[in-house]
């Protein structure tokens, strides 16, 4: 029996009013996404969703929801609520049968809504974030407050919520806000002075332009991306050894500074290696996905951690670029959003075909040649082009630059008296053998390999197919190597891919314990085509270079298959799958390549509903401290609702269609808006109505990030080192912070001004991140992280009060202002930190502190330094107002 309609069970005027409200609303059809989906998510989907399908029925996908349940009944009969089992079960009185099972009955209004929805045809809707981004009409508003479209959206939303926008912020406050937002720290400049003297709109815009053009802009915005890219200068896990990957950080800074269109920015990071004739920069960009962790602990299974890295690439791609949490689909279909378990693995197939195998060396690596070497390389390339043609030359140059394609020796197996040494490199003893599976041998008559031996007198034979198979090559090792060395031998070519077996004999080794030879990698190739330049080729191969880990795709003959992992475990391989994107999003065009490049094109097509929204939301959050959708990491149906979806869509559409994916013009719109220029002062009414400033009826007021706090203090000290790029630096860090086992890595304090570089250049060790920044909510960079939650703790106070970095900078400030009287020094320092003139009361408080300190230690500079340090600890200095 259906529950009685609301208006029949109660009397009085209030129920009547309620009925009236319901009845009035009923003139509008029920909206699935905003009215129905929340009820289902809250009450039903835990048991009838992507994880559990009680009674053989799920509400996650339309076709499943409208199919017959195990009982043979239809839960939803579109157009007929009376015939729908779901409504019947929701309305029962018997708690044994009533749904939700073992829970309170749904409120009558919700049942009524569901009933109406089914009677109206049970129209399925699409969650807002999965709908294509359309052009949004700018609300017409008659107000001289509005400066650009943003303001129209904000003002109409504020009015909807009975909020009045705030007055314009003080020009000095605005200057500091702009500087912190655009370049990350306050700094003196011509445009700043001009605007402070004459705060006109024109001068304001000139200041915005100057800041957006500053090279420090790229550094500021790269900080945001490093958390997403889980960038660190070490490999992670037990030994957490160093990793040279800082050129990727530099690539980001340059890309932001050049305002590289965001679609290109993503494409180069995801698939730079697959572009036609990729440049060195495009290869460096792919280090984005080489920031995954590598486990060097002895005894670990390399395939397990290779797979872990691939899964991390999938999850990071979704979270960082599309603001979607995909990780739960690893184990089961998404409980709330339209992504199936199988779709996760189809998506993983895009990433499962790269050369990296959790090797100690982090290969594939891009080798960086110095200018002299580079000249030799170019000379060789020109020479080879004439002798061997373009294709062959490109292949050879690629091998010189990346040592790819090669097979890591850790991929070998079937060990007989051989083993993986420390589970990293194939080590062979006297009378031993091992297999290297799946070697593409077609037309390959050369083998280049990396090996190490301290036991002369050994012979290695290479056999095809089996230990009794055809011998295709052999070589003697008649001297000890100097560490790892490369060597080339000829082999018999064959016509297919096959397993090869290595055997090793060395009569000089009398026991069965001593390693005779170790291998690192094998490269099978056609012979080098030109004897004249072969020596140059070898010189370049052997050259010592610095490196960056990059992505490199397997050739067709070496490609991996991808399987579904049952319940998410890599050991339980299910069905084989090919590449595909989730069916609920935009189609993957037939003509796109089915690899990471095609994927990047799909993600950055204007049809993709998530990519533009995700980045616009991130930019907004950087400025306002809270996104238009608060959950940056989840725009899906489990994320927070957007506080102003029209604004988000307006900006997203503009980014793609008017600004050609360039971020600077979009940011400029944000900075020029009246919305941005509001004062951030609060009053009880504003706090009451909008505690988190979701509707932007006041300016942003948030605590500075860990990076901004450091950079601002550097700037005020006069010691700021503006040098950009290069190896990470090690500013002061207390003794005994790094203590990784089996690691000799040390924190060696940088000198000669390097200790005064911006925060972004600080060496980042995953298992022991820089402590003072961690205290200010920096992330460990182990996995992709979208948001830093700003806390307020005593350890933060202790950091800026006592960390030697801040003590040193306070002393430098005291030095800088030593020529002034204490009162002048205080006001100068205050000015450089806040952009404002200090008021008399605050100055008096600090002068009193100065006097007290002077009385205590009779040292004018020390007393001033204490006052300077107190300035660094002021709320107004730690906050952006």
């Amino acid at each position: 029996m259906l529950k009685k309609p609301l208006f029949l069970i109660s009397g009085g005027i209030l129920p009547f009013l309620m009925y009236w409200v319901v009845a009035c609303r009923s003139q509008q059809p029920v909206d699935y996404s905003s009215q129905i989906k929340p009820i289902l998510n809250k009450n039903c989907i835990a048991c009838h969703g992507g994880v559990k399908k009680q009674g053989g029925w799920s509400l996650l996908f339309e076709d499943e929801a409208k199919s017959k349940a195990k009982s043979g009944k239809y839960a939803i009969v579109p157009g007929d609520a009376r015939a729908s089992e779901m409504i019947r079960r929701l309305s029962l009185d018997d708690p044994e049968e009533r749904m939700p099972f073992e829970h309170e009955a749904l409120p009558d209004e919700e049942i009524e809504l569901l009933t109406r929805w089914i009677n109206e045809g049970a129209n399925w809707g699409v969650h807002w974030a999965y709908k294509t981004i359309d052009k949004v009409a700018i609300p017409k508003i008659n107000s001289d407050w509005t400066k650009n479209g943003i303001d129209n959206f904000v003002l109409s939303k504020a009015e909807e919520n009975n909020l009045t926008v705030s007055e314009k912020a003080d020009p000095n406050v605005l200057v500091r806000r702009l500087q912190l937002d655009i370049i990350g720290f306050p700094q003196n400049s011509e445009a700043k002075t001009n605007y402070s003297k004459k705060p006109t709109d024109e001068n304001y815009e000139l200041l915005v332009d100057e800041l957006l053009d500053s090279p420090h802009y790229g550094e500021k915005w790269t900080s945001m991306w490093l958390d997403l890219a889980r960038y660190a200068d070490t490999k992670g896990y037990e030994r957490d050894g160093n990793r040279e990957i800082w050129r990727y950080r530099d690539w980001l800074i340059k890309a932001f500074n050049e305002d590289m269109p965001y679609d290109q920015f993503l494409t180069e990071q995801l698939a730079g290696d697959l572009l036609a004739k990729p440049t060195e920069d495009q290869l460096i960009a792919t280090a984005f996905h080489r920031n995954t962790m590598t486990n060097d602990e002895g005894g670990t299974n390399n395939e397990e951690f290779r797979v872990a890295a691939v899964l991390d690439r999938v999850n990071t791609t979704w979270e960082a670029t599309m603001g979607t949490t995909f990780a739960c689909v690893q184990c089961h279909s998404h409980p709330y959003d339209p992504f199936t378990h199988e779709e996760y693995y189809k998506f993983m197939a895009f990433f499962n075909n790269t050369r990296d195998v959790d090797s100690y060396e982090d290969s594939p690596l891009l080798r960086h040649f110095d200018p002299g070497q580079e000249a030799k390389l170019n000379k060789l390339a020109n020479h080879l082009n004439k002798r061997a043609g373009e294709t062959e030359t490109a292949k050879i140059i690629n091998f010189i630059k990346t040592l790819q394609p090669s097979i890591a020796s850790l991929e070998s197996d079937e060990f007989v008296n051989s083993e993986l040494s420390d589970t990293k490199w194939l080590a062979m003893r006297n009378n031993s053998s091992a297999r290297v599976p799946g070697v593409p041998l077609k037309e390959k008559s050369t083998l280049v390999f990396s090996y190490l031996s301290n036991k002369p007198g050994g012979t290695v034979k290479i056999l095809r197919e089996s230990l009794n198979g055809e011998e295709i090559g052999r070589f003697k090792i008649d001297r000890s190597t100097k560490g790892w060395e490369y060597r080339e031998i000829n082999i018999e070519p064959s016509d297919s891919t096959s397993d090869i077996y290595l055997t090793y004999q060395n009569p000089n080794i009398k026991d069965d314990r001593t390693d005779g030879v170790k291998f690192n990698w094998f490269h099978f190739d056609t012979p080098y085509p030109d004897s004249d330049s072969k020596a140059d080729y070898w010189n370049l191969l052997n050259a010592k270079t610095s490196t960056t880990p990059i992505m490199a795709e397997n050739s067709a003959e070496m490609s991996r298959t991808t399987n579904v992992f049952e319940r998410g475990s890599w050991l339980n391989k299910g069905k084989k799958v090919g590449t595909a994107v989730p069916a609920s999003l935009n189609k993957f065009p037939e003509n796109y390549p089915k690899n990471r490049l095609g994927l990047a094109k799909w993600m950055t097509s204007k049809e993709n509903p998530l990519t533009a929204r995700a980045i616009v939301n991130r930019l907004w959050e950087q400025i306002w401290g809270i996104g238009i959708v608060e959950t940056l990491e989840d725009l899906g149906s489990q994320g927070e609702k957007p506080s102003n979806q029209a604004l988000l869509d307006h900006l997203s559409w503009k980014l793609m269609n008017e600004y050609n994916w360039q971020l600077k013009p979009l940011l400029k719109d944000m900075f020029l808006s009246s919305t941005y220029r509001q004062s951030s002062k609060l009053d009880p009414e504003k706090i009451e109505k909008d505690p988190n400033n979701r509707f932007m009826a006041r300016g942003p007021r948030i605590r500075l990030s860990a990076e901004q706090i450091r950079d601002q203090a550097l700037s005020a000290s006069g010691k700021f080192n503006p040098e950009m790029f290069g190896k990470p630096v090690m500013p002061f860090q207390p003794e005994g912070i790094w203590n990784s086992p089996y690691s000799g890595d040390k924190w060696i304090k940088s000198e000669d001004g390097q200790q005064y570089r911006r925060a972004i250049y600080t060496f980042w060790k995953r298992t022991s991140a820089y402590p003072s920044m961690m205290n200010f909510d920096a992330t460990g960079r182990e996995v992709c992280s979208s948001r830093r939650i700003r806390t307020n703790t005593p350890l933060q106070a202790l950091t800026t009060l006592n960390d030697v970095v801040y003590i040193d900078l306070s002393n430098q400030m005291a030095e800088r202002f030593a020529e002034h009287s204490p009162a002048e020094g205080i006001s100068e320092a205050y000015l450089s930190l806040t952009g404002n003139t200090i008021d008399k009361k605050k100055q008096a408080i600090l002068l009193e502190l100065y006097d007290e300190a002077l009385k205590d230690n009779q040292d004018r500079k020390a007393a001033l330094a204490l006052v300077m340090n107190s300035l660094l600890n002021l709320d107004e200095v730690l906050m952006k107002s």
Partner: protein, 499 residues
Amino acid sequence: MSRNNEKIFQEAVHKKLLNHTRRNFLKESFMGLGGLALGGMLTSCGSNADSFANNFFDPANPLMPRAPHFAAKAKSVIYLHMAGAPSQLELFDYKPELVKLDGQSCPQSILDGKKFAFIRGVPKMLGSPAEFQQYGESGAYVSDYLPHFQSMVDEVSFLKAVSTDQFNHAPAQLLMQTGSARLGRPSMGSWVTYGLGTENSDLPAFVVLTSGGNNPDAGKSVWGSGFLPSVYQGVQCRSEGDPILFLENPEGVSSDLRKASIDAINKINQQEFDEYGDPETLSRISQYEMAFRMQTSVPEVMDITDEPAYIHEMYGTKPGESAFANNALLARKLVEKGVRFVQLFDWGWDTHGTGEAGSIDVGLKKKCGQTDQAVTALLQDLKQRGLLEETLVVWGGEFGRTPMAENREGKANAYKGRDHHGDAFTMWMAGGGIKKGVTYGETDEIGYSPISGKVDPHDIQATILNQLGFNHEKLNYQFQGRQFRLTDVAGKIIQPIIS
């Protein structure tokens, strides 16, 4: 408005703001800061007014004390993690049959389908060189490696069949401490701090002490806060240098001067509050006051010189030394002062037999010698102060060791040693509502596999949370689109050891 009225008005505004912060906090507790008010759905289908089902903290006062789900038996936890994995076969799991098999080749049947970190081919069985005897009324076996601990068997519950699926140090330590073998999840202490806050705001809520010369293999992640706000991470207290990083005032700044500077900062901040009306400024004022109090209270609690001679004798402590014994004594002092979670990591228990220090007959004995007396003293000391009742003490490593001798890369190792083994190892718990003199779980004749009473790291975590008053399925945090908890999707409370 008269001056007086104006003052009253301002006070009212101020009060309202303060109230607001509080009310906002309460609101956010239920709505979730991430705003996802669908807490616990996936895991529990529960719809009770369970405040921990959602992200539950106030960024302005994240360590505010909170009550757990139900009445707790333990107020605090001291977790003693022997990093590197001590050998159960040399300490607690007495296997005379294994001694008889010493030197024989391991039967292929028990190797099939197993993966080892370093054992290759067919290893030899390795009998324990330790001598075992039964002790106490419970008659639990303890080896001669632990002459002090022998007297404590009637205080503890042994878990003889702990089992983990991780057999490499870093992942196994992460699994034990964070519930996941991958980096990025919050540690047990972080979860507890997130759930309980702290009652003594002058000390960190979650303290970590390390010894043995190295950090644990998984680094600081084993006390990291993962995706929880970083305020919940463990605070490492050190016996050399600053007891807490950045605690000490710089040279030339006396405590009085520090007080004066914090007063000045706070006065100006008060003025800033009057202008901007941001409740966060008020919170900052109180954080600076708290920082000042910490500067006194932390060095006080970290200083063991004031302890009487008999205490030093009992623990074997020497003030100023960086040693496990000192950390054990500090652990007692910290819980006495209201610290909720104290985690000790002692490095150096990895006994492969590749060197003497890592052998089961020399190196392991030495590690036992460095810790046995202090662990025993800690239990006795807590007991004599009436603190053991409300303090849960946990002892264990990240996995166990094989009954076979390690043959790294297929060669016999130079010293007696055992490879990593996750299938069966021993841990023990004491105090905090745990039964006394109980042994739960049993392994086969060679200590290779559990026969009964098998428990895994999630069970241990569920039990620890239970003793602290938490339903482990409901201490949740919304992240990456789902509710996370310490015990992931597993964890059963080990009822047989709960009193």
